[in-house]
Structures are given as structure tokens and as C-alpha cells.
Symmetry: C2
């Protein structure tokens, strides 16, 4: 086929796909053009074809057909990823999981949920909540992000330090390989060492080894209590001291740190995000979720009082109602505020040895300031897990300067025990930096596995490596 002809002009291809998924299973023309592969700006799938299988069997048939033709595909979940994992080139068709959005079962006794890959995380939350349980993965994009997408990226979010990343909440998985083979390992048992563990082979591989079609996730009992506090902290050493002792709170569910630059931007944004006065070097949002309200609250308050007495906290506010809980979380999840005030923006998701995070942030700031006098930079994130996000604006030409900014961010990272990506993945965006951040032997294994399961690179071929 002519490289310059869009895939959507190939009527024999379209007819064959329609044969498999039916009329409802196919989107073309404007339905494709109006859809974006990026959560922040319009990036339509360039191939112009979206296939929407309604069952595992249809995914399998689509892949068997694509395998025969050597037709590359990109799998779409909620398209909330910021690493370019959903970008779809001219010669690629999209397989969207949006019609596979059924929750099949909630098993109250074994505390797990069986669902198709296209179910949005928030829908899982609501279903679990109705059964008096909690699906622990919680992230800002939960309204759109899907089960399959979060499995493929091993998504993290706000409560990782209590319940782990997505893979830690995964019990079973069903996947379709590049050649259409269905791999079913829908385990719901805690302990199962019967051969290689499929969920761990496929989770976090960004859709390059297979298409997740269904999964079993664990639920936990719905917490009966929730305490949230925002505290102002005088130094990074005090942040570390707080973290060290906070880890002994059995019900601790979040330890989110906001550097002064981030907090001040939020507090001055006139969006009602100002629980404390500005001016402290650090602010921490702490959360505890437990099963015994009286004891949980007592432990949480005792921790705060103790920290205050030790001079680790200079100011604090605690939630008195669910509305206040939500308000405090709005402070931490203020992405749209700094995006609006700092656009265009380069954002970053990294992990650093917690002891050195502030040192790293300082180095990056110094290097960026030297290069860009108009620098605006905000730092915040899941410090309890060593994971921070940095938002950077260097002026109207931020987009043109992106590669240089990224080099400063990621090259500086190499001086530390660190991760190029903590929770967002490599995708297409960080692909060029990958070889500098993992050992050569790791790249060798990655290539061997990808060659083994998808030798023709049909699945998400432009991501990772």
C-alpha cells in the first residue's frame, strides 16, 4: 500500500474489519478526526480507522487478521496517558476497548472484581463502593482512564504507599497476543505459583506484548474513616522526619508533598485552594483511611501533635467534613490551575531517592534558571513513594525548548538513584531517554521478550524501544 495513502482509504481493509466487529464496531471519518490521542491537545489517530471490538473473541479475530496482513495497531483505553502511548501513526489502526466496558462479577467473599478492560476506573470505584469495598487505585484521570490502560501502564496515583501500584492490585489477567492467541489467566487467588505469572509478565509493558482484554482486581474493605490534614513544614529535613515516623501509622494512605512554588501558585489562584497561609518552604497533605474511626483519628491527631511539638510542623489544618477532605485534595490535584497559568508547559514524572529529592530539584532549578530567565517551575507529588512531578514553563517558546529542558531534567537525574518514569510510563515521549536510564542487559531482555511475543512489532510499535 502506498505510504502516502491514509489507511482509511483502503476499502478492502475496512470491509474485512467490519466483517469482524460489525458496523457499530467501526469508526471512520469525523468520528476519528474529532478524537484525540492526547489528554491536553488534539492529536487525532492519523490512520483514520478505529476498531471497537465487543468481546475477547473479536479482539482475537482482529489481531489474527492484522497478523496475517502485517497490519500494525495501537490499543486505546481512556487516552489519558501523558507519555504519548496512544499516538497512532498513518499506517496504524486503533483498537479501542471502549465497548468492552462490562463489570462481570463482584466477589464479595474473595474481595475481588472481574471486569472487561474498557471499564473506567471511576466505574470500578462506584461498583466496589456499592458492595462496601474499595478499589485502591486512585488517580486524577479516573473518570476516563480504563482498567486495561492502567494495567498496561502499571498506573500509580495517590494511595500507592498504602496499597501499591496497579500490579499489586491485580489478581488475574486475560490478554490477546499479536497473532490473536488468547492468553487467559483469570486467577482470583492470592497465592498462585503455577508457572510464569501472566499478570506480571504483561502489566506495565505498555501494550507491547499483548492487548489486555479482561482482568481480576482485588478489592479491600471500604474504609470507615478518613482523616486529611494539610501542614506547613519549615525544611526538607523536617519533611523527611515526618515521613519516617508517618510510615508507622498503620492507616496512612497518602503522603503528598508540595514545594512552596506549587503551593503559592495554588493559594494565589483565586480558586479557593488556600487552607494555610503561603510562605512555608513545604506543605504536606497527609491522609489516613482506616476501619476504626475513633482509634484512627486518635492516632492521626497524636502524630500531628507530636510533630508539632518537635518543631516539624509550623501550621496545620485538619479536615472536619467530607467537603473539607475534597477541598484539600483539590489543592493537591490542581493540575488545571498550573497548566492554565504556565501554558505551554513541560511536565515530568520521576522518582528520586527521597533523601536527595530536594537536592535534585534544586539542581534542576539552578540549571534551568541559568538557561531561562523567565522560568516558572512547580514541584509536587507522591513523596511518600519517592515520586514527584515537576511542571516547567520557560517562556512562550517552551515547546521549542522541550528537548533541552528534558535533557536538563533527565541528565541531572542520572546522578541519583532514580527512575526516568515513576508512574506515567515511557511511551513515545521518553523513548529516546530510555537507553541512558536502564542498563544494557535490561534493554536486551526487553528486546528478546518483545521479539518473542510480537516479532513483527504489530502492537504499539512506536513506544518503549
Amino acid at each position: 500500500m502506498d505510504q502516502m495513502t491514509p489507511l482509511a482509504a483502503d476499502t478492502s481493509l475496512i470491509d474485512a474489519l467490519r466483517e469482524i466487529v460489525g458496523e457499530r464496531g467501526l469508526l471512520l471519518g469525523e468520528d476519528v478526526a474529532l478524537r484525540s490521542c492526547d489528554p491536553f491537545r488534539p492529536v487525532p489517530p492519523e490512520g483514520g480507522i478505529i476498531v471497537r471490538p465487543a468481546s475477547t473473541e473479536e479482539v482475537s479475530a482482529v489481531m489474527a487478521f492484522c497478523h496475517e496482513r502485517g497490519q500494525p495497531v495501537v490499543t486505546h483505553g481512556g487516552r489519558t496517558g501523558v507519555a504519548g502511548g496512544a499516538f497512532t501513526a498513518r499506517d496504524q489502526i486503533v483498537i479501542s476497548m471502549e465497548r468492552m466496558n462490562r463489570i462481570e462479577e463482584i466477589d464479595e467473599f474473595n474481595q475481588c472484581l472481574v471486569a472487561q478492560a474498557g471499564v473506567p476506573i471511576e466505574v470500578l470505584h462506584n461498583a466496589a463502593s456499592d458492595a462496601n469495598m474499595l478499589y485502591p487505585i486512585d488517580l486524577g484521570s479516573k473518570g476516563s482512564a480504563t482498567l486495561g490502560g492502567t494495567i498496561s501502564t502499571n498506573a500509580g496515583g495517590n494511595r500507592v504507599l498504602r496499597w501499591g501500584m496497579t500490579r499489586a492490585n491485580l489478581l488475574g489477567i486475560e490478554v490477546v497476543l499479536a497473532d490473536g492467541t488468547v492468553v487467559s489467566a483469570m486467577n482470583r487467588l492470592t497465592k498462585n505459583n503455577t508457572g510464569y505469572d501472566m499478570k506480571h509478565i504483561f502489566a506495565g509493558t505498555e501494550g507491547t506484548l499483548g492487548i489486555v482484554t479482561r482482568a481480576v482486581v482485588r478489592l479491600v474493605p471500604k474504609p470507615a474513616s478518613q482523616q486529611v490534614a494539610v501542614v506547613a513544614v519549615p525544611s526538607y529535613d523536617a519533611v523527611l522526619e515526618m515521613l519516617k515516623s508517618a510510615r508507622k501509622l498503620p492507616a496512612l494512605s497518602a503522603f503528598e508533598v508540595m514545594w512552596q512554588d506549587y503551593y503559592d501558585l495554588m493559594a494565589n489562584s483565586n480558586t479557593g485552594r488556600r487552607p494555610l497561609e503561603t510562605g512555608s518552604p513545604f506543605y504536606i497533605l497527609m491522609e489516613s483511611m482506616g476501619y476504626n474511626e475513633e482509634q484512627d483519628e486518635q492516632q492521626f491527631m497524636a502524630f500531628l501533635e507530636n510533630s508539632f511539638e518537635q518543631g516539624l510542623i509550623v501550621d496545620a489544618v485538619t479536615s472536619q467534613s467530607l467537603a473539607q477532605v475534597q477541598e484539600m485534595w483539590r489543592l493537591r490535584e490542581g493540575g488545571e490551575v498550573f497548566a492554565a497559568q504556565m501554558w505551554p508547559i513541560v511536565s515530568s514524572d520521576i522518582s528520586v531517592d527521597v533523601r536527595k529529592t530536594d537536592e535534585y530539584v534544586g539542581k534542576v532549578r539552578a540549571k534551568l534558571s541559568a538557561a531561562y530567565p523567565g522560568l516558572k517551575m512547580v514541584t509536587f507529588g507522591h513523596l511518600g513513594d519517592g515520586n514527584i512531578h515537576i511542571g516547567i514553563h520557560v517562556g512562550p517558546d517552551t515547546v521549542e525548548e522541550e528537548l533541552n529542558v528534558e535533557h536538563i531534567l533527565y541528565d541531572t537525574l542520572r546522578d541519583y538513584d532514580s527512575a526516568l518514569t515513576a508512574e506515567h510510563g515511557v511511551g513515545q515521549v521518553k523513548k529516546k531517554f530510555l537507553p541512558d536510564h536502564v542498563e544494557p542487559g535490561v534493554l536486551t531482555v526487553m528486546r528478546h521478550l518483545r521479539d518473542a511475543l510480537d516479532p513483527d512489532r504489530l502492537l504499539n510499535r512506536d513506544v518503549l524501544l
Copy 2:
């Protein structure tokens, strides 16, 4: 080389290995003959050669050499596995990790420990404890079982329901591939999505994809309180009710169930294992480990009282001292007692949907009783995780009847949501049953990955598939 000549007669092979690992790195003759690949009976490595590399570089050089010669190897950790994973045939050399037994670092802030693969689990426990932390993996064989062996088998043990299996406690890994390539991913960060996650690719693959040489494991703060109780429970429904509410105890660290047959055998063994009268259908050992003694104890006692009021418990004893804690655990870890009283024995490690475990046990007992009038059978295990162990003696010809007994055990299992092996692995022992217990697509993926990383099957070739 002649199939009938033992490998140990090949002096050129031995000289070449000595060249790599030195005199101390090589065991031959009686040193090999006196060593067993099985924890219960003498099964010497048939090849007659044990290589003991002292560093990752030496492991790499040994494998590069073996790769060139097409020489198969079997990796040995503590040789405590009961699935035959360490059995070594006539044409295979042993690579023992026993000299790679160094703890390299304890990182108190990031709460992790860096060690070579040959360190026994108990040594990790002691080192963690000295630093006021806990390595959560706890298993009966901890005195001999090694870090590398427990990673390769994804070992479980007593406290999985609180802290997860070995893979959940693994942060970083270093592995040597079949061709000698070193794969280093010694991550110590909680969140790291930088490409495929090496620790999860290699953990639980029973040494078939690579040889684990070093690892980083997470530690948790050392618990400040420990409560243990043994309770007598009138029915399996009561066991399930107890489990359901026990899951809400934030400090719950073990929920071990003993069927009456197991408890009575222990209680009547004259080994001081009789905390309660015999005669109840079920006994539960519950443990709580927390960081606030007063609150933990209060919650634990309130739980027991509440269960008693609901009629779920008919009798109970709680620990008043560390000595009593150890005594209660001796009851549960009474392997040597029933091994002595029921020898020869077939033992089994499986998972079943907890709701159906007792039904499964009843079916197995009925089938075995019908076939073997002299049946002795005891059931116990980590029911909080759905994992039980069954010990079976059918008479003096138990060994001859083993295959038939296993068919009854594992064929019956297929009627349930279940796992052929929960925590012990497949090894050589359960290999023949594997295809009946995982879907064909899973076997396909396993073969593809193994072919990709070890096409000549040099590593532990007789295990798994």
C-alpha cells in the same frame, strides 16, 4: 560426551571451571555425594560437580562458558524446595550460590536491604532486626532457604496476607542470563515504570529464565507488638465469618487454619503442642503485629470477644509472652511431627477458593478413603490466603501410590477456582500436571519467553515445562 560417563570424569570441563571460580569455587567427589537436592531425603546431584561462584562476574563467566559448550546447569539456593527444583541430572552441573552470601547494604531511610542471592532468609531477618526493621517473608525453612531461591520460587509463608509474597517485597534484581549476559536492575524506588519490570519478569520463574545473583528487598518498620491466639471454631462457616471480619484488623499478620485431623495429631503427639482441648472441627492461629501495643491489643481482644459472643469461637487462648507466641507457632509449624507419624507421606501445596476449601478437602478425603482404607490425612495452612497444605499417608506403599494420590488431589482441584501450586512452585514434581491446570495460551507464552531467553534450555531444564 558419552551419556553414561558422569560429568565429573571430564577433566577438561573441570579444569575450565576451576580456571573461572578457583579451587574454593569447586566441589567434587564426596563433597558432592554427601549433599542432597531434597530437604527430606538424600538425592545427590548426579553430575558430580558443584560450582560455587563468588561474584556476579564469576556467575557470568561460568554461564558464558556453559553457553559455548551447551552445558546445562541447575542453580542451587538452600535446597529446601519440595517441588524437585534442585534435582540435578547426570549431564548437569550445579551452580550453588552459597558463597555469594553478603549483605551489602541496609538503607534505613528507604527501608530496603541490598544483598547477594545466597544469603539465607534468617540472616536477612537478623540484619533487618538489628536495624529495627523487619523483612516480611517468613517461612519454616528460613534457616536454609536463600534470598535467590525464594525470589526464583516467589516464596510465600506465614505473613502473606499482610505483606504479600516474595515478589511484593522485591524492589530490585540482578540476574545472569543463560549466555552470561548480566541484567542489572537494582532499583530501590517504590515507583519505577521505566520499561519492562525485570524483577517481575524473573521472579517466580524457578530459575528457568536467569540466575538471580543480587537483589534489593523492602523492609518494614519492626513491629512493636505481637498478639497471637489459638481458637477453636465449631464449623467451616464460622471459619469464613471469622476470616471476613478479621480482614478489617489493620494489624492482622496471620490467619492459619488447622483442620481437626491436624490439630488432634499435634495435640496427641506428646510434644507440648496442646494449647486447647481436642475435638473441635477447626482451630485457627491468628496473629496481629502492629506499632501501638495498647491499641493493637485492644483491637485484637475486641475481635476475639466479639467472635465469641457471636458463637464463632468455642474456646480460645491468647499469648501472654514471647515464649507462648513461639509455642503457638510451633503448633502450626509441626511438619516434623506429622512427617514422623505419617511417613512415608505425600504432601501438597494448593490454593482453592476459600469458600469451597472445606468442600474440596471433604471430596478428596472421600475419594482417598474409598481407595485406601488405611488413609491418614491432615489439612492445615494459610487459609487467609486460600492456601492449604495436605499431608497424606495411604499405607506402607504410599510412595508407590503417589501418582494415583496426586491425581485424586489435582484432578479434584479442577472443579474449583484453584491453583495447582500456591507457594511451592511446579519444579519437576508437578510438571506433568501443569498442562491440566493452566490455559493453553499461558503455556504458549511460557514457551515463547523461555525460548527467547534460554533457547538451548541450559537453565534448570527439567523443571516447569
